[in-house]
Subunit: 230 residues, 2 copies
Amino acid sequence: MSSSATAPWKQLLLNSINANSHLKHSSYFQLATVGSNGRPSNRTVVFRSVFIISSYSKFRDFIIFIVGFLSSFFFLVFGRGFQDGTDKIQINTDSRSRKIEDLKHCPFAEVCWYFTETWEQFRIHGKVDMIDASNSEPDKLKQREAAWFAGSVRSRLQYLGSTPGLPSLDEQPLHGSLDPSAGPVDAFCLLVLDPEQVDYLNLKSNERLTFSNGRSVSGENFWTQNKINP
Amino acid sequence: MSSSATAPWKQLLLNSINANSHLKHSSYFQLATVGSNGRPSNRTVVFRSVFIISSYSKFRDFIIFIVGFLSSFFFLVFGRGFQDGTDKIQINTDSRSRKIEDLKHCPFAEVCWYFTETWEQFRIHGKVDMIDASNSEPDKLKQREAAWFAGSVRSRLQYLGSTPGLPSLDEQPLHGSLDPSAGPVDAFCLLVLDPEQVDYLNLKSNERLTFSNGRSVSGENFWTQNKINP
């Protein structure tokens, strides 16, 4: 067992993202929550906030390609997807989606992130803070705004659509246009996962490590690391 | 809304598996459960039972390649991973793993399966039957045995290892050898997920469908299908 103040799994994760960045799958992970009926839910979530939806003009596609390219660069350099250089993971979501109901019932979630090229799995467990328009903390509203503008204009359009999960009564209309300088719409919610425990499995080396977050007597955060059987 | 006796999502899923079969990721999905502490767990699971672990001789690698190739063929033709032509999904696991504890506490699980090439997601929710060596039903023990022999000899070796998740006290020893004709070891457990609800999302066509399993007055199973907002 060893311990450290900084999250030792974060560099492992950034290395994996980097080593698998040529695979589309590397920017997606699965987020598990528990519903109010006590049963599990699971869905795919994007780590990078630029998320591309189909059916657009060629010019816009080009602009989105450039934005996507630049954001990939920023991601690799600054580790976007993490909050402000911390080990907290940011996820953009629709405040009308079922995962919000789930998280109101049980605020814990578990990310499962598998990297095909390097045969590595990260299971990241922690509490989720939901930051929507009704949040009373100015700092958190700023984080939400920053996450909104960090996404492409196209990715923001999805929050103007009909309520996810409700019966689709007609053909989906185009979501209309959005002023690129306008702040987050009501349906935009920022989730911030604060990791408590990380389970790392490497199937090539057949190694498995767990990382646990604790608090010292003096109130400081620290991480302990243990090698366990795969 | 429409309804049918056979699972209408199964063919959609088989098509997706087929269309994405050149991507390693297409044979993995994430399985969410709920722990006895009421919190979610999430891990990657293999759909095809042939799972290859590293560090073996070249001759064995060749044999495993051939077995893998043949099993891929059988999978595409017979849809292996499903139980006996039903819509139930089979998962091989170690009876000493934490997911077994989770499922004893809450027998429901949700599969999340994302296909990168076709931008499709399947969320498959249902009850899980655990079939281990202590099962009292001969038919189920036969299913467990069949699942054991359907996997490669190499994949069976993982069940001879140390208890997963316990502290690793020393270097992992080789798992030794296994008689290819020997039946399932105690640690081998077959999970059978019986789908109740399936949520299908196609991000290319921007369509989302839910499929729900019900029972008619005459006691017959049927599936209803609804189009919902993505």
